[in-house]
Symmetry: C2
Subunit: 254 residues, 2 copies
């Protein structure tokens, strides 16, 4: 399939899943992709890219790496791009295959579990936080936005290329946690205040939907619920901020 | 000025500043606005709003509160709306006036300082975190996106209506901090690891631009720099996640 048609097709989740491919847009994201172990299938560029030294430099690197390259018009580029003000570079790459069974857990380890997160920006920021704050992986449960959605990829600014998310069902996750002796804690406003618990060496932390919180299935699977102390009149924290606080405070070497 | 023309005009920062008004879009945000002390100037709705019980309920509340109301066509609504899939309700309200001199600091208090934050979603999430994690206020320095931008308002999901941000210059902030005996710490990857410092009772925490970090002026004004421990191969945390961790760990009653 021609690169332009392919890039347009990959806007749909079904097409991404069927082909095992995803699209990365923008200078910073494509630079990170090129620095990662992931395999690139091709790159679309427009004249916008050549207008900055950084863009021209990236183009040289892509050419040197032998990546298939198609120059398209601004209008064609915009038809494939997800961003409103494209930087003139868009890469198509292979989704890495990473399953629960691939995870090598240290004696003290953390997982971040995403349960029904709907906002792509939040999912990207969660993947970035999981990688930056030392979780072995982020586990994405059904009902969460596709982690290979272009907006997610942009928000994760490259972190998910080196720390690919793991897609799993709640049953698969439960079986894995049992086999690995790993506890599952859920973030919830009605939980025990953070800091008042003994923290198990192996711990998965689940965060839930922006409006509704954790699903009943995940709540049932949790061995404890934990809350972040907040001001009296506060409604809630952004889910990515909450996860960041939990991953930091509950880190293995804290 | 007619409400529709006004709403369209308020998409521009200059118009918002000149008129001292802002636009709040969507069910959840307008509900929060109606529950807040802020004054509404008027509301635009489209037929989309009446299609859900929650929307119809909000319309009754707006009418009961005597808010000026204009029903417009879907096309007119979209010309004023910032969202791609509007929920059919958009309110125009007065920006609250809150200056540094208005802040009543407790003996132990926190401020969050926004220095050159460019992404409206990040600014909104920072305002939400400052309110939820007990900061007395968020202080917005020049170079940061307008905190009354429609995207910021949406991301803050109502928190900024009860905890209005304070706009100030770095000189005004320095004078205020000196007068109040408040320290200023900056978030930076080259700072001292979080948890290794004695925390002053009154502390302002500054976070900087998504790409470049703190400005030289703010770095100079800081009495200490603080870093969040991260995985070896991690590049950085999202600025709103970093601020959330700092506000939580450095809270007065920690």
């Amino acid at each position: 399939m021609r690169l332009l048609t392919l890039a347009r097709d990959l806007k749909r989740r079904k097409a991404r899943e069927r082909q095992g491919l995803f699209v990365a847009e923008g200078l910073r994201t494509v630079e990170a992709l090129l620095d990662s172990p992931l395999r690139l299938r091709g790159v679309l560029t427009s004249d916008v890219l050549d207008r900055t030294p950084r863009g021209a430099d990236l183009l040289s690197r892509l050419n040197a790496a032998g990546v298939e390259h198609l120059r398209v018009s601004d209008a064609e580029f915009e038809s494939a791009a997800d961003t409103e003000q494209p930087q003139g570079v868009l890469a198509i790459a292979e989704q890495p295959d990473r399953a629960l069974a691939d995870l090598m857990l240290a004696p003290a380890a953390r997982l971040l579990v995403l349960d029904g997160i709907q906002d792509p920006g939040n999912v990207g920021t969660l993947l970035r936080s999981a990688a930056a704050l030392g979780a072995t992986a982020a586990v994405v449960l059904p009902g969460t936005v596709d982690p290979w959605n272009a907006k997610v990829v942009r928000s994760a600014v490259g972190h998910q290329f080196r720390h690919p998310p793991v897609l799993a069902t709640i049953e698969e996750l439960r079986a894995f946690l049992d086999a690995q002796g790993m506890a599952l804690w859920g973030a919830a406003a009605d939980g025990v205040m953070l800091g008042r618990q003994a923290v198990p060496p192996r711990l998965a932390i689940a965060v839930g939907n922006e409006g509704n919180g954790l699903s009943p299935e995940v709540r049932t699977a949790c061995t404890a619920m934990v809350a972040i102390p907040m001001a009296d009149d506060a409604e809630s924290l952004n889910v990515a901020v909450a996860a960041g606080i939990l991953l930091h405070v509950l880190r293995p070497d804290a």
